[in-house]
């Protein structure tokens, strides 16, 4: 399965046409992390936005696990949108494959794709409902 097919199955991109999705795949790339590698770094600026394509990761702050992430989850977006360093680490707990959108490009990416923006908002809303105390 190529990247475009794999992304097409994620809720975040469900509204994009194949041509739009292909343009996304041509603009950004994926990255794979070994288990134990840190992906998002607490307190350090300039992080990117990650969409989990495969594998699992753990959100940790000050040595405590806050939640786990798996296929379809997005992380790093709050810090990219607010231009603040993440308040938690994200560490791969298995081999982790993510699609990566550079932090500074998130705003334009979402404004050009309002349906993706809406889906992301819904994900954030659900996250607030179920885990209100956690802020990335």
């Amino acid at each position: 399965m190529d990247i475009a097919e794999s992304l097409a199955q994620l809720a975040l991109f469900a509204d994009l046409t194949p041509a739009q999705l292909e343009a996304v795949v041509h603009t950004f790339d994926e990255e794979v992390f070994a288990a134990g590698q840190r992906v998002l770094r607490q307190g350090l600026s300039g992080g990117n936005v990650y969409i989990v394509v495969d594998g699992e990761a753990s959100v940790q702050a000050d040595g405590r696990e806050l939640r786990t992430l798996s296929r379809g989850d997005v992380f790093g977006e709050l810090s990219a949108l607010t231009d603040q360093p993440p308040s938690a680490d994200v560490v791969a707990t298995t081999m982790l494959r993510c699609f990566v959108i550079p932090g500074p490009q998130l705003e334009e990416f979402l404004l050009e794709r309002p349906r993706v923006l809406l889906r992301l908002l819904r994900m954030e809303a659900r996250r607030l409902q179920t885990a209100g105390e956690w802020r990335q």
């Binding site: 190529d2 990247i3 343009a23 300039g46 990566v100």
Partner: protein, 506 residues
């Protein structure tokens, strides 16, 4: 083991057991072998080619590189600082091996021609007396817990670690129906073949623009198409801007003849002696059909990894590039390392999306040197010398590094200079990947690197590792990028006060 022929017996590195095997004799392989030899690591170098130079013996097709070498510079060619002015020579410690490319250039451009680059690599291999077993093709691989076995045309090689430096040179075609009938970039060879023809180029990255540029004096019409729009802002800061942008210039002026189209290529069909290309817009609504004489797939390249995916090699970019740890080891196959262009598979921290220069000689020559050191230490226990540095010298040393260290200037945000606290003092740990420094933990330490901010500005950055984790200090930018001055000493001194002061004898 296969029988060794008379010819093979005269060649270096007969099949057998080595600490490390390096596969490839392009710039990545030569740089790795040079660095391993300096560290005293016993290794073999194998190459299917019959001479050094790798891809520069064939590519780029239109004969000029996009990375600079400046024969004249404000520093001597034998200095470390000169490496910033010469992005194409391999690295060496001996003066007679340094900066070989500028001496071979005719100086009609500050970008070497393909022949000048190839000659520089051959000269390096010759002068450094780097031994390579040429004409020896890697054909298969076996792995077990302790070793890697390479099956080659000459027999079997066993090693504790293998470094593949094979470039990203195997033609790759995007999954477009019918694209298999098209020529690939590597098949274009002579531009005059396209005289008075209508040419459709699939791809708008380096190789697409390079081909289009080469065809402008010959082709009747040139169409470049791919889904992603050309980002002129990004291109203006990329090495590509130096050449190859005339096709875009012609299109941007609004007339017919040369087109740069944002479209998905839906299908390519045979059409008499030519082709019909069906496209659908990505940044505009609708579809367009092109009847052309030629289609060229400029959809890029992949790393030639042979049977490694069957053994579990994990890749990125639709299988084109191995996914690597910060030390350029496969994330899934231990003891399998990549040097050269494929070292770009270790993406680094990618702060604000910034990429390293690992896919060009200027960057991967440093990766290779750091990799060799890592292999020597981590796999063979060869600890390197770590000179001590006096506490009062730390601030000026880091500022000098930020002002002129070529590793930091080229591999921005990717490699850093590290000083580590040991026994009440500090030692110079050399150059390490930034991702390793940030994530591996360890004793108190300071790292210096050069980063790029959201608008392309150059930001000297210091990371301080202490008990509470890593803190980040971005220093003020400077228009001349000179940080070895009193105001910076004061600023950095105050930021380092905690880490330096805590061990102060009083």
């Amino acid at each position: 083991m296969a029988a060794i022929t008379g010819r093979a017996a005269d060649r270096p590195f007969p099949p057998g057991r080595y600490d490390v095997v390096v596969v490839g004799s392009g710039p990545g392989g030569l740089q790795t072998s040079y660095a391993l030899r300096r560290l005293g690591v016993r290794h073999a170098v194998l190459s299917r080619d019959d001479a050094p130079g790798g891809m520069f013996r064939h590519l780029p097709i239109f004969q000029r590189l996009i990375t600079w070498t400046k024969p004249a510079a404000p520093v001597p060619r034998t200095s470390r600082e000169y490496e910033w002015f010469d992005h194409n020579s391999l690295l060496a410690d001996e003066p007679e091996l340094k900066a070989l490319v500028p001496g071979l250039m005719d100086r009609s451009f500050d970008l070497p021609s393909r022949e000048e680059m190839a000659a520089g690599l051959a000269e390096f291999a010759e002068r450094a007396q780097l031994e390579v077993r040429y004409g020896c093709a890697w054909e298969g691989t076996r792995l077990d817990a302790e070793r890697v076995v390479l099956e080659t045309s000459d027999g079997e090689y066993e090693a504790g670690a293998v470094v593949f430096a094979l470039g990203v040179t195997q033609p790759w075609r995007a999954a477009v129906p019918g694209l298999e009938h098209a020529a690939h970039y590597v098949d274009t060879t002579h531009a005059e073949r396209y005289a008075d023809r209508r040419v459709f180029i699939v791809g708008k990255r380096n190789s697409g623009f390079e081909v289009a540029q080469g065809l402008l004096p010959w082709a009747r019409e040139t169409i470049l198409a791919s889904p992603r729009p050309v980002e002129t802002g990004a291109l203006a800061l990329s090495a590509l801007r130096v050449r190859y942008l005339h096709p875009y210039d012609e299109y941007a002026r609004g007339g017919p003849g040369t087109y740069v189209i944002d479209a998905t290529i839906e299908r390519i069909e045979r059409n008499g002696d030519g082709f019909r290309v069906l496209t659908r817009g990505t940044t505009w609504d609708g579809s367009l059909t092109f009847d052309v004489d030629d289609v060229i797939a400029a959809t890029g390249f992949r790393t030639p990894v042979r049977d490694l995916p069957q053994l579990g090699l994990v890749t990125v970019s639709d299988g084109r590039i191995p996914a690597l740890t910060p030390w350029w080891e496969s994330v899934s196959l231990p003891r399998i390392y990549f040097a050269g262009n494929a070292s770009g598979g270790a993406r680094g921290v990618g702060k604000r999306g910034a990429g390293a220069s690992s896919t060009a000689v200027n960057g991967f020559r440093y990766n290779a040197r750091v990799l060799a050191q890592h292999i020597a230490e981590a796999r063979f226990g060869r600890t390197r010398e770590r000179p001590s540095i006096a506490r009062e010298d730390i601030t000026p040393y880091l500022l000098r590094e930020l002002s002129g260290a070529p590793e930091l200037l080229v591999q921005k945000g990717y490699l850093c200079r590290v000083l580590t606290a040991v026994d009440g003092g500090f030692v110079d740990d050399g150059i390490e990947p930034v991702a390793h420094f940030l994530d591996a933990g360890g004793p108190d330490a300071v790292a210096a690197t050069i980063e790029v901010d959201g608008s392309g500005g150059i930001v000297p950055t210091i990371y301080v590792r202490g008990r509470g984790g890593v803190a980040e200090h971005e220093l003020q930018p400077h228009p001349l990028r000179r940080y070895d001055t009193e105001p910076y000493e004061r600023e950095l001194g105050s930021r380092l006060r905690d880490v330096l002061g805590s061990r102060s004898p009083g």
